[in-house]
Subunit: 169 residues, 2 copies
Amino acid sequence: MLRLSKLTDYAVVVLLRLADGDRATCRAGLSEPVQTSPGIAVATGVPEPTVAKVLKSLASANLVLSLRGARGGYRLARPLAEVSVADVIAAVDGPIALTACVDGGAGGCDLQGLCAVEGRWDLVNDAIRQALDRISLEDMCSASVPVAFRVMEPELVALPVPAVSAAAV
Amino acid sequence: MLRLSKLTDYAVVVLLRLADGDRATCRAGLSEPVQTSPGIAVATGVPEPTVAKVLKSLASANLVLSLRGARGGYRLARPLAEVSVADVIAAVDGPIALTACVDGGAGGCDLQGLCAVEGRWDLVNDAIRQALDRISLEDMCSASVPVAFRVMEPELVALPVPAVSAAAV
DNA sequence: CCCATACCGTACTGCGTCGGTCCAGTTAGC
DNA sequence: GCTAACTGGACCGACGCAGTACGGTATGGG
């Protein structure tokens, strides 16, 4: 299914929140001073430890800057337009590669020598890498799609999503 | 890591084997009459039950034709050039979608309404789908590149593997 | 007509990875 | 020096995948 980890999804949400906090204005705002991980957690609805984990990954990939100590927090390292989806995925999920057989994982495959495709997946990997590289976070944000059609799920709307609600989004 | 299931990898191997059996001549050969799953298993080194499982998936996606009864077996449904990687992935791993939140999977996400990206992943999904659609199995086979040059990806070889590190990329 | 061959479908199980949590340590403002 | 906040590591349960097994069915040959 080509699944992408949920953490990566969270990472995008967090970065978007970090960019401005206001959903309407998705343009890259480095204006926002710093935001703490508890703060982002409340704003996004993502559990706080998870937010912290994601931010740690993003920080070590230099997508966000961290300020330690009291009154510390996180800031975007560069505007959203300069961050590609590939960057985020690589930061959270590790390098982009479809199979374990490729990209130097020369160790694992016990079909070595039999495998008719050997390194053939590189073609595919590169294609995907390029595709992901062309999409910036700003692209994912600015498109103005009506969110309407999903609201029809009553049991979901009724879910006890605590407190967060209106103020955030 | 954007992992692709190992089954999909096997599927490509099996299809290539089914195309001709001889690695040197990768051109689409519908010439080969039929091949049994045990036969393919020995030829490729993939365990037989797994081969059978893969072939079943491929058969129900109409990528291969099955002939039952004694002297039965499998045949390619169409030449390799007309089978895209996306087809194979969809057959084995299910529809291509990065996250569960999208593509009508309206059920899962409990951040409904909070999620700042809502349906934004569609952009990415489409990009990947197109990229995969452009690569045929023949492409993966015919390219005559020596597997050597993989080494040119220094950041990947250097990585100590753990999922969350990714400092390099 | 019977049997061997080979596909078909389903169900089961072990294992690896991921999502999520927690804790001890460190840094910096007040 | 105290407290707020990031840092890093370890830990654990849950889910999904890979692999296996088994009973069933269809076809061709003797």
